[in-house]
Amino acid sequence: MGNKIVTAMELAPKTMLFEVEAEHIARRGKAGQFIILRVNDEGERIPLTIANRDPEKGTITIVAQEVGKTTEVLNAMGPGDEIHDLAGPLGKPTEIPTGKTVVCVGGGIGNAVVWPQVQALKDAGNKVIAILGARTRELLILEDEITEIADQVIVTTDDGSYGRKGMVTHALDELIDGGEKIDEVITIGPVVMMKFVCKTTEPHGIPTQASLNPIMVDGTGMCGACRVTVGGETRFACVEGPEFDGHQTDFDELITRLSYYQPEERASLDNHHRCKLDAAAEALERQD
């Protein structure tokens, strides 16, 4: 009795968008919250942001980038397939102000998180500027969806293949220098990017929320795998976050913690590829 995939769509190379049946999450979920899923009974529990939801249809949208075995298996799934299990909505919703000017800075897959936030911010009557970053044009996701809602969208690519060449921080600097009165910044993306976004806003005293993505196991506050240091204190990101005051966050610790299982993840992926090769070889043999 898993959760059925209704639609699957490739957004960029190795990046898929899924619409999945999950009625209660569609009803209760809010911007900034996430779900935890397992692709099969041996599967790892991985957190993914609720990118969109449709309470009437009883579906939620998730976006997954292939980075390890779980996401590779997930991204090979299609409509009609079932995700083994899915729990949520987890974490605290984004705190949504009203009548303010808010800049959402997303990078890479982080734009999937920016999407519901821009929507929620607009719904609450804020002026929303989105800065969307990507390494290169073909990796930019959800530009159209976000452009449709935001007051202004600025796209940057590292290689200049689309939008402005450079980092999201350059665009943010320009906005600030250009005299835009920014009340708040929300940033979601690679940790290094978030760190520099926070460094950019700090001297100007602009409150900045960063959406942290530590390793999680249960996502219910039971294990502490997700602990991050904010303002010198240990916090469990899965229940107290995932959004924290970026100026107080120890990003370097987060980067180190995120790297801990890299050798194992590589091994798991290699193992998975070997199994796939073996299966293919077996299939060929049977054909003979």
């Binding site: 041996e42 075995k69 196991v217 039971m222």
Partner: protein, 494 residues
Amino acid sequence: MSDTPKKPKKNINKAKTKTPMREQPAGERIFNFEEVPLGYNEEEATLEALRCIQCKNKPCIAGCPVGIDIPAFLKLVGEKDYEGALRKIKEKNFLPAICGRVCPQEDQCEMVCTLNKPDKGRDPGGVGRVERFLGDYAMEHDLTITPECAAPTGKKVAIIGSGPAGLTAASDLAQKGHDVTVYEALHKPGGVLFYGIPQFRLPKEILLREVDGLKDMGVKFVMNYPVGKAESLESVRERHDATFIGTGAGLPWFLGIPGENLNGVYSANEFLTRVNLMGGYKFPDGADTPVKNIKRIAVVGAGNTAMDSARTAKRLQPEIVYLVYRRSRLEMPARVEEIHHAEQEGIDFQLLHSPIEIVDNGKGAVGAIRCQEMELGEPDDSGRRRPVPVEGKIKEWAVDTVVLSIGQSPNPLLTADCPDLARDERRGTITINDWMQTSYEDTFAAGDIVTGGATVILAMGQGRKAADAMHRYLTSGDPAAPAGEDSDVCDGLS
């Protein structure tokens, strides 16, 4: 042995010590996750049951948190009526295969057993071992003693949390004819029985079989459903006639010392969850959740959780497993059997040492654990002698992994959602009255969420007491028992 009777006159076994139980040898078992004590066969179980002298005052019954009629079931085993014995236990305890394995019998029924005379070298009756035999016998012979359920009452009950407290309440309420649904945050049922207690101490198949038994009784399970997140408690209460909270004490404590967020530092919950719930010991071939290739590990603490962590670590084939504890052996809270097993398996106990820092290896990961040597001073509130630092004595062990097993408190996932539910702010526990009823009239609570971290059997005993009160609440609107009824569950209530 010489104690074994040749031909007992009365059908009693006069052996002074318990019938030995076969075990996987320590040298073998540290290479696998299979169970350690192998259990009794019929002959051994019967022999042990016959050691019970059927004394008049039966202190064991009072010693059992759920009041099992122990002499009665032992007598039936002595007569080889295993099914009858099982029925007898199941009147009070529906998880004998589990309790026989994890209950601290030495502090309960066996401690007060008339036979128990350690100074005279006489063991108590091996109640736990025979209980376990019966649980296993039922499984091997596919004996499902599914209790008869009363005619449907039409009342709907929600059980939040599927640990021993929730499962017991679910069973009792289903038997009384109520329509029961269990909501569980994780993807497997059982609470600590699944994610905490390792496979080699409690095979998961046993637990899953008990859960299947509940399903046969008509209990519905909704997994991956963290109440408070997936749905508010208020809305769950609206949809049901009564609600039970058994969400346990799942929030792990950390020490607050430098280096605690280094890579390689785990809470016992995370370490055990990775290995047990997620099957990490099979990584990468049978499970996707990684467990590190550990070489040298220190487990901090000395409760059951610490023993489980140390023994689990040992099975991942490291060079050394230290167990660091700030008091002495005498104060260790773990079950005697667990301490004994840990020692047999070569866990290196470093007693009277308290961690003061986890040292960075220069790459953001654990390099060593630095400890302050302690000595025992005056007794503290808990009656145990308080550890005090020995000035200037600091010691360091080179390790790559540290597992902290220093306690846990109730998980606020649910309670954060209902701020007006009465609770003890300091301990985080839910406040209940004598009938296990919370400050919400239709909502009851039991287990670790009420007591703080305790035991499986206490959680079950409370789950039963809550179920009884809920039944009365559902049928008469008043959870208090009319005088004289259900005397065993109302002990001390009036």
